[in-house]
Amino acid sequence: MESVTNGTSILIVEDDRKILRVFLTSLEAEGYRVVDASSGQRAIEEVRTRNPDIILLDLGLPDIDGLDLVPTIRAHTATPIIVVSAREQEADKVKALDAGANDYLTKPFSVPELLARIRVALRSHAMVGTTPRTVISFGDYHLDLERRRLLRHEQHVLLSATEFKLLATLARHPDEVVTTNTLLKEAWGSAHQGKKGYVRVYMHSLRRKLESDPTRPRYLLNEAGLGYRLNTSE
């Protein structure tokens, strides 16, 4: 573990000193280098000067709305952003994800949860720039993006075009939450904005084909009010 995290720098944008202390202690214990910023303005400076490997962004900041910060940072760098929000900001989470954030955490959360999200975000970011993976595996399945097919134990699984597009969109961001809006745009184009029901119908048929128990899915996990996550860790 030490070798993986050693030298990886994390920027924590958080204005509460106590929460910051806990994060600092636990993340430094894991071997991360931690930089902190207590305001949006400081955060922008730190992103420019230090170029962190990952950003943990609290949406409730004293000076700038954290939501506005996401596109500002995105304009500057592709560094993964994990958004941290209080429960009252449910709607903001979706907006942050649509604006380019990679993942979210809702307060209060545990440190193991935080570490898991950081690892996923770093892993998928590490793949950016390298040749994108063309085969993504989860459980017994192998999804071949290039040859456009899904195999299970070397057997073809018959998917419709839309089902395939949805699965491929999820597979390009394995273990990260993909918002329903993004799925809609990828599979149907931007003309169908707002028709979330489309995604529900096709995810239903995908689950019928992929999951042994659709009410306890192992791979196609949904996040209420947000979107879906393809679980590849099982």
């Binding site: 456009r148 529900r200 239903h204 996990l221």
Partner: protein, 529 residues
């Protein structure tokens, strides 16, 4: 009423024309009586002729009124003298006996007419006051039946319009000197057509103003102030129904009496409104107190554990065994999670109570909601899969719901079921299309169940059945009911056959189902070939 409005004058000219006709009729009757007397009795039968004249005069006084009767009396006396008393054909009277007959006949005529006139006046005023009483009674009854301020105003206006044959409006004062809106018997209308200056004059001086009054009488409308206990609450505007007619309205005493009733009714309504608000505030206060006492008790328990365990670690951490340190840390972690859940449910219920729980509806699949709930329960409680059994109808329709909120409902129901049933009994979640318009969700446990009288009370705030093993706030089901009802569904609890509790709720299927376009033709072919 000291006014002498033009309308009254006009009516008088009308009356005089009718009176002339009646006077003429009175005179003509005397003529007819004379002719009859001459033809039937002749000049000798004085007694019968005199009685005949008296009879005719009494008849005229009854049918035609006082003045025609007096005229008929005079005419009869003159005719009697001229035709029947010697010397005939002259107004002279020869002897004293005839003079007495003549004078007494005239006296009796006047006496009978006066009596009759008095009777008629009494009858007319009785009729008038009866009509007035009846209109006022109808008004009061209509006002009492009204359920809202608008309804009340409209009922009052209708009654005034039908009684006084005018078009009426109410201009409502905004508390200050201005008017905030106008109401007609058909509902809200614009203030623009009103002569606001005259209306304000009436409101400030508490006296009628405008047409038909002595104040600002050039206005085309008559304004009667609506005076309640606390001063002028508005102004009643009346105008002639037909805009083109020259008829003029004026504030008759009946209209003023009705305005008083209306003002009192409106004021009563305001008072009861204020009372209602005060009652709600008292109830809110009561709930706030209940929350405070319940919260302070339920939150203190986990806080005590956290404080003591963490202080042990801070003060004596180095002297503790590793296992003991871990145990302390685990306790802190558990109680903090518990505290977080309590706070969350408290916040949700507070928001629900304040009407601030926003429902973000979208097309959602219940299957996904259940999947998400099961994952959260499994993560939190580490249950074996057999504990939670699901049975979902395969072709459930998509519903327009707030997935986050419905997830919360299911989570609360499942948490309850887990708390109240033993550790080795399964919990069943069933979802099926109840009928065409509803989907039915049931969460069934096989625990001890509840007494019948508790089945409805469990949805009350802070209600916890007597044998509660856990330490919740008793808000989970309250929140569930609030959310389900906000979605237009119903929630209820019933005993599980064979023991336990089943909580069921319905969610309405949207009247307009989601329409899906077909997949694009390029996509119709499967990709895997």
């Amino acid at each position: 009423m000291t006014h002498d409005p033009p309308a009254q004058r006009e009516r008088r000219t009308w009356r005089s024309r009718g009176a002339l006709l009646r006077d003429f009729l009175g005179l003509a009757t005397a003529g007819v009586a004379t002719a009859l007397g001459l033809w039937l009795g002749g000049r000798g039968d004085l007694t019968n002729t005199a009685v005949g004249y008296l009879f005719v005069i009494a008849l005229v006084s009854m049918r035609l009124g006082f003045r025609p009767a007096i005229l008929a009396g005079i005419a009869s006396a003159l005719c009697f003298d001229y035709f029947f008393l010697p010397p005939y054909g002259s107004f002279n009277i020869d002897n004293g006996r005839d003079l007495v007959t003549e004078v007494s006949m005239f006296g009796v005529a006047i006496f009978v007419s006066t009596l009759n006139e008095r009777l008629r006046r009494q009858a007319r005023s009785a009729r008038l006051s009866e009509r007035r009483t009846e209109s006022l009674y109808t008004l009061v009854r209509d006002l009492a039946d009204a359920h809202s301020l608008d309804e009340l105003s409209i009922a009052g206006l209708r009654q005034i319009e039908s009684v006084a044959m005018v078009s009426a409006r109410i201009l409502v004062r905004n508390g200050g000197d201005h008017f905030k809106c106008a109401l007609s018997s058909g509902g809200r209308v614009s203030l623009e057509t009103e002569d606001v200056a005259a209306a304000q004059w009436a409101a400030q001086h508490l006296e009628p103003a405008g047409q038909g009054t002595r104040n600002l009488s050039t206005a085309n409308t008559c304004y009667v102030p609506l005076i309640g206990e606390r001063g002028c609450i508005g102004v009643l505007a009346i105008r002639s129904r037909d805009c083109t007619s020259t008829a003029v309205v004026w504030p008759s005493s009946l209209i003023q009496a009705m305005a008083r009733q209306l003002a009192m009714a409106i004021e009563r309504f305001w008072l009861s409104d204020e009372k209602h608000i005060a009652e709600i505030e008292a109830e809110t206060e009561r709930i706030r107190n209940a929350v405070l006492s319940s919260v302070s008790h339920d939150l203190r328990t986990p806080l005590t554990v956290i404080t003591s365990a963490s202080s042990t670690l801070v003060e004596h951490g180095d002297r503790l065994q590793v296992a003991a340190r871990t145990e302390m840390a685990r306790l802190i972690n558990e109680e903090a999670k518990h505290l977080s859940e309590l706070l969350k449910s408290l916040l949700d219920v507070t928001r629900l109570q304040a009407g601030k729980l926003s429902v973000n509806r979208d097309w959602e699949s219940l299957e996904e909601v259940v999947a998400s709930v099961l994952r959260r329960v499994d993560e939190r409680k580490g249950l074996g899969e057999w504990r939670l059994r699901t049975d979902l109808q395969d072709d459930l329709p998509l519903l327009e719901i707030d997935a986050t909120l419905i997830e919360q409902v299911l989570l609360n129901l499942i948490s309850n079921a887990l708390t109240y049933s033993g550790t080795d009994l399964p919990i069943e979640i069933n979802i099926s299309s109840h009928d065409e318009s509803d989907v039915l969700v049931s969460v069934t446990d096989h625990g001890k169940g509840l007494r019948t009288e508790d089945l409805t009370r469990i949805f009350d705030k802070f209600y916890r059945s007597g044998n509660t093993p856990g330490s919740g706030l008793g808000l989970g089901l309250t929140l569930a009911r609030g959310i389900v009802e906000a979605h237009g569904g119903k929630i209820w609890a019933s005993p599980t056959p064979g023991g336990g509790l089943t909580v069921q709720f319905t969610l309405p299927v949207s009247a307009t189902p989601m329409v899906m376009e077909e997949e694009t033709s390029e996509g119709a072919r499967a990709w895997s070939r």
